[in-house]
């Protein structure tokens, strides 16, 4: 039964149709175009990270410390696992949505639990493997490939995250239980997760090292972490020294931990799912005050409610503005280091103004709500479709919401960066103009993406927010627009001043924006009509 159930759950969560949002056999052209776009996204992602780690591998090879690469592997892999489990364990294990379907079936609860854990772990291994692949490649390239080391790596890779996963699963449950007692439980969870993410980001960027490769600043920190936590050391020794004892220690301890986890969890999972998350909703006798407003305003308001009611949605698409505000405020207190941090993030040496511009543009591209918000209407899409609202008004509301989310923060950050590094008022003004045009461009592009690749048929919001074609195309399409601006800057930087280039970039972005706006105005209704609600 375990095999059938796991297969079913995997199909339910990760089939191509679910990931893409449409049947690729029926829409071959669309599938090819999306395939190319996903390939582009993968190449950009793996290529950028791969370059940095290859570079780092060379440096470590020169000083004879290639095993340090494995410290990076462990810390990144575990960091990613922690984030995934913290966000997802509660939904995968303790309060799963298909409990009502599975519970009445004659399947042993332990089998259901094992299947659920397996599906969560497969998702975790897949993400972690993809993210750490460049590190593994760089390590074996610079140390020389050997089959035993590689097999030990594969075994260790499976067992290493188990203890952090167990700890984080319980933490995830505790957060879900604790925050359920508050009226604004979702908002509290969002704040906690943002704080954790920012903490990780701050920790991962050293502000002491001046180097264009951000990874070199992390060597001491990561090797320190590896030394402090014995399983990391076992993992590293097992691979680097092909130490079978270290591998057995890792497999033995983590295998026992997993066994105990399953035994302990079995009754707990049943109890939590039987009870469900009970939000503390008291009767609200507040007097109802009716207020008329425009359709656009009421749609935008609805978007806000949806956004702050979905932890996954808010954390994933809201990290850009949060990073912006954190770094710009930090720049007031750490002026001298901010240039190094931005250079580390960009991976190249550039003028501070252009670095700030690149960083703000990156954060705006990461705010991709219009690329997924139509999909997130999900089962509620019938409401929008049956109401007398123009399709372009709905699209406009998605764009406006995204602009409200990122533009005021982007403007504030330009002013704060301006104060901290001394950008003139005129330059700030022009930068603000450019950022507004860029934000409208990205938001409109994202909205068009979602019009073309909507995905209403999802079980969990994660499928839309993190895995859908809309999300991938939205984010990496945004990066492509940054690249276009970057190329323009590169060619113009020797010809004219920064201020003039910025003004010209406003013009370039407006030229790119015009056809997109025309497209939204003329095609939204047709595309809406084709969507199945």
């Amino acid at each position: 039964m375990y095999r059938q159930l796991t297969k079913l759950l995997l199909k339910q969560n990760f089939s191509l149709k679910r990931l893409l949002g449409f049947d690729f056999k029926k829409s071959k052209t669309k599938a090819i175009l999306i395939g190319i776009a996903i390939l582009y996204a993968l190449v950009v992602f793996v290529g950028a990270i791969g370059f940095m780690f290859f570079n780092l591998g060379e440096l470590l090879h020169d000083i004879g410390q290639t095993e340090m690469m494995l410290s990076f592997l462990t810390v990144y892999s575990i960091g990613l696992s922690i984030m995934i489990v913290l966000l997802r364990a509660s939904g995968y294990l303790f309060y799963y949505k298909d409990y009502d379907i599975l519970a009445p079936l004659p399947i042993h609860p332990r089998t259901i639990l094992l299947s659920k854990i397996s599906v969560m772990m497969i998702m975790l291994y897949f993400s972690s493997f993809l993210f750490t692949l460049p590190i593994v490649f760089s390590y074996f390239y610079w140390t020389g490939f050997n089959i035993i080391g590689f097999i030990f790596y594969l075994i260790g890779f499976i067992f290493l995250p188990l203890v952090p996963v167990i700890v984080m699963s319980f933490l995830s449950l505790l957060i879900a239980m604790a925050t359920a007692k508050f009226r604004h439980s979702k908002l509290i969870s969002i704040i906690i997760l943002f704080a954790a993410t920012i903490g990780l980001l701050v920790g991962s960027f050293s502000v002491n090292e001046v180097d264009t490769n951000p990874l070199t600043g992390q060597i001491n920190l990561f090797s320190g972490i590896s030394n402090a936590y014995p399983p990391f050391e076992w993992f590293i020794n097992a691979i680097h020294q092909q130490s079978i004892i270290d591998l057995l220690l890792l497999v033995g301890t983590h295998g026992i931990a997993l066994f105990l986890f399953i035994v302990l969890l079995q009754s707990l999972v049943q109890k939590t799912n039987q009870r469900g998350v009970r939000s503390n909703i008291r009767k609200n006798n507040k007097e109802i005050k009716y207020q008329e407003q425009s359709v656009l305003k009421t749609l935008v308001q609805k978007e806000f409610k949806k956004y702050f009611n979905s932890i996954l949605y808010a954390v994933n698409s809201g990290i850009g503005p949060v990073m912006l505000i954190v770094l710009s405020v930090a720049s007031l207190f750490y002026r001298s280091q901010i240039e190094d941090v931005l250079a580390q993030m960009a991976g190249v040496d550039m003028d501070i103004e252009i670095l700030i511009l690149a960083f703000i543009s990156f954060c705006i591209a990461m705010t991709y709500t219009p690329a997924i918000s139509l999909s997130l209407e999900g089962k509620n899409f019938w409401i929008i479709k049956s109401l007398p609202i123009k399709a372009e008004t709905v699209v406009l509301s998605k764009i406006v919401f995204n602009l409200i989310l990122c533009v005021p923060i982007a403007i504030t950050s330009i002013i704060l960066f301006g104060i901290s590094i001394g950008i003139s008022a005129i330059s700030q003004f022009i930068l603000i103009g450019l950022i507004i045009v860029f934000a409208v461009l990205i938001s409109t592009f994202d909205a068009i993406v979602n019009l073309h690749v909507p995905k209403f048929d999802y079980v969990n919001e994660q499928e839309v927010v993190k895995q859908s074609a809309g999300a991938i195309l939205g984010i990496f399409g945004g990066f492509a627009f940054i690249a276009i601006n970057g190329v323009f800057y590169y060619f113009m930087s020797d010809v004219t001043t920064f201020t003039m280039i910025t003004l010209l970039m406003i013009a370039v972005n407006l030229i790119m924006l015009a056809p997109l706006i025309y497209y939204v105005k003329t095609k939204s209704a047709t595309l809406f009509d084709r969507m199945k609600a």
Partner: protein, 237 residues
């Protein structure tokens, strides 16, 4: 009020979910729509509401075509689906305000209508609570209220009595009759043949996408029960 002209719809290009369907619903009609599961009832209702498109034919509401003037049609209608999937991130009152904003109801009208129907269906005291905390029946009541507050000329309902408690079902039937007496047309699908028999002045039976019987309820059933008629017609090949 509602003129369905030779409408055909297929989801896969092979099987017809609606096969050359034609129906006329006059002002004040209370029209019941019955058929097996998968016969095409929901498809037709969704097509009228502009939720799904159809390949051929046309649907006119008060002279406006859903294909050519969808917004004009949607201003005249209210649609209630078989499953009350509504925005769970909103509170009940926020959802009703949203609908009222879309239909541009002024504050006084929305206050009066919401108060009237929320009191009637006994959910006034939970309107400030999030929809996510509502039961299936409460959500169904909220969707019904959202459809009634803007006074549509045509009310489309897909299995409206499913999930409602007996009192709410009774009240909804009363509301139906009151609305029809004021000239509103109501077109609803149901499996409860007794309701159609007692409540509706007209009925249509759909089988495999085709309308196989339609007309005045009394003329269709004559001296038999609608259940007998339905079983007879449905069993014919």
């Amino acid at each position: 009020m509602l003129d369905i002209k030779d409408v055909s719809k297929s989801y896969d290009g092979i099987k017809q979910a609606c096969d050359h369907v034609s129906l006329k619903i006059e002002k004040g009609d209370l029209f019941g729509f019955v058929g097996h599961n998968g016969a095409g009832k929901t498809t037709l209702l969704k097509s009228i509401a502009g939720i799904i498109s159809f390949e051929s034919g046309d649907i006119l509401v008060d002279g406006f075509s859903i294909k050519k003037d969808p917004l004009e049609v949607k201003k005249l209608i209210a649609y209630i689906p078989d499953n009350p999937d509504i925005y769970e991130s909103l509170s009940g009152i926020q959802y009703l305000e949203f609908i009222a904003d879309v239909f541009k109801l002024d504050s006084n009208v929305r206050a009066r209508e919401v108060d009237k129907y929320a009191t009637m269906f006994e959910i006034l005291d939970v309107l400030n609570n999030p929809i996510s905390s509502y039961s299936h029946g409460m959500k169904q009541k909220l969707v019904i209220i959202s459809a009634l507050i803007h006074k549509p000329k045509l009310l489309l309902l897909d299995e409206p009595f499913v999930g409602l408690d007996p009192k709410a079902s009774f009240l909804l039937k009363e509301v139906f009759q009151e609305m029809c007496s004021q000239g509103v047309s109501i077109f609803f699908s149901t499996h409860v043949l007794e309701v159609v028999e007692k409540l509706c002045n007209k009925v249509a039976i759909i089988k495999q996408g085709k309308i196989i019987a339609q007309g005045n309820t009394q003329e269709i059933i004559m001296n038999k029960s609608l259940e007998n008629i339905f079983m007879e017609i449905a069993s014919e090949s």
